[in-house]
């Protein structure tokens, strides 16, 4: 029986659909397609509303990435607790 080159990978993001569903949803919020063209809205910390929403979505994307790397990318080294 042939050796699996990736046997030390316990879990990887590519194989978890939920990872990509959340990414698509957050990117869909981050890209400002749903605002009327030319709309700026109220200022939030000096930024137009639609820009503030995009920046907030990027913050959520970064937090989600941290979660994904921590929980959905695991190898045998993580399981053993060493580097």
């Amino acid at each position: 029986m042939e050796e699996d080159p990736f046997e030390e990978i316990v879990l990887e993001p590519r194989k978890k659909p939920v990872v990509w569903v959340v990414y698509v949803l957050l990117f869909a919020v981050a890209v400002p397609w749903y605002w009327p063209t030319g709309y700026s809205g109220h200022a939030v910390m000096g930024l137009p509303l639609w820009v503030a929403v995009t920046v907030a979505a990027v913050i959520l994307l970064a937090l989600w990435t941290t979660f994904v790397i921590t929980h959905y990318w695991r190898d045998s080294g993580d399981e053993e607790g060493g580097e």
């Binding site: 993001p13 700026s40 930024l47 990027v58 790397i69």
Partner: protein
Amino acid sequence: MITGAGETPLAFGPGAMAVVTLYLLSMVGIGWLARKRRQSDNLDDFYLAGRSMGFGVLFLTLYATQYSGNTLFGYTGTAYRIGFQWTVSILFMFSIIVGYLLFAPRLVVLSRKLSFITPGDYISNRFRSPVLTLLSTIVMIYALANYTLAQLKAMGAAVEGLTDGAVSSAHGIVALAIIMVVYETLGGMRSVAWTDVIQGVVLLTGFGVLLFIVPPLGGGLSAAVEQIGRIDPTKVGAPSLEVCNTWISYILLLGCGAAIYPQAIQRLYAGRSVRVLKRSLMVMAFMPLTTTLIALVCGVVGIVALPDLGGASTDQVLPRLCALIMSGSTAGYWLVVVVFAAALAALMSTADSALLSMSSMFTRDIYHAHLRPHSSEAELTRVGKISSWIVVAILVVIAVGTDKSLIRLLELKFEVLIQIVPCFFLGLYWKRLPAGAVLMGMIAGLVTALGLTWTGHARVAGFHAGVVGLAVNFALCCLGAASSGRSDSIAERPPSSGAGWSALSAQVGE
């Protein structure tokens, strides 16, 4: 000469010049220290620092390499021209991290098992096609040469501005290129990564300083945005649907293209462990907020503070804002010195990484693979160092004699580089993907991307020509895999020097 509003010259005095000179000389010193720390005279040690990078070094070298001089000058210039529509830059710089998640977990495992040095090592071992490996290598070297060229030109402009024209752009390019290639050939990746640590810290500091010193020039961010809304509402308003297409295109272009930067891939190889790489990527996910967002704010404030810039001079918005700050106070003067040190750091850290990567690909994937297959590791390391000097010499000659926009060069780089993406995104997971389909897809993608660009269709319905080319590329890969009829042709491949790969590669992807 770079001048500020009202032709205020941006020139440093002797004290500031001494600080900048000391900073540059310290780079050479670090190169010398890195040489002392080398463990052996082989490619693994020279190009990957012996795969020993810990979290601090790996994160800062990833950061300093990813955020270039273009982030400071090109991005502020674009924000000046199109206003908040350049918010896309925060998004596409973030998308690079998502790109890594699509292939890094598997590539890192393979690279550690099979001692890959270059991206070409993976392509060669996965597909066993010398033609595909050679074409990929040429594409990657072309893209990196193009990018390095942009960094060299920006270095020249920065030096000319620093010295108020006393040192010409050409002399600046030559001097900084020599410093760069000296520390690089002294210690290879170890030098480059260690200098990246200093450059990364300086760059982060510089952006932090910018966040505090630039907005007051426009009366504060809120006041500046309100004023722009009255003068030119399109710069603060939400973009049209076609522009949103361009946003998506940028996300695909950078998310795929920048993630497979050869120098970025080599940093994935160079980490001490997978855990170190994961920690570095987690922090990198937040870096667009501390870097590109600040560049956006600076460019937008520039619209109010410097309303009369036009054409190519819009890329000078940051130096001109700095000139205003310098003329205001002594504290402002020294803060601008930090910002310019950051600019040089950004330019040099990106250029040196690209240069080292080009040298490794020439040495490993062209010289060793096609010209001298039996050469020793010591000979290859020597060839790598010599090739660095030759590449720098060629690029310096071109940089001194050409004139193109930074952003345009960046886009042209990705138009071609992105066509390598299926090798990684599909090749690592899709066992049925044959080399012939990848090769045909790559050629078709390149022809489509370059053909569209050169015929004046750089964007189609808002999408970059490179992204359109990538769609054609992916389609051909899928068709090729579907018609291959069997799991893979690996079993029929001739034996190669990559011991153990046949057994491993046959398992790639399910």
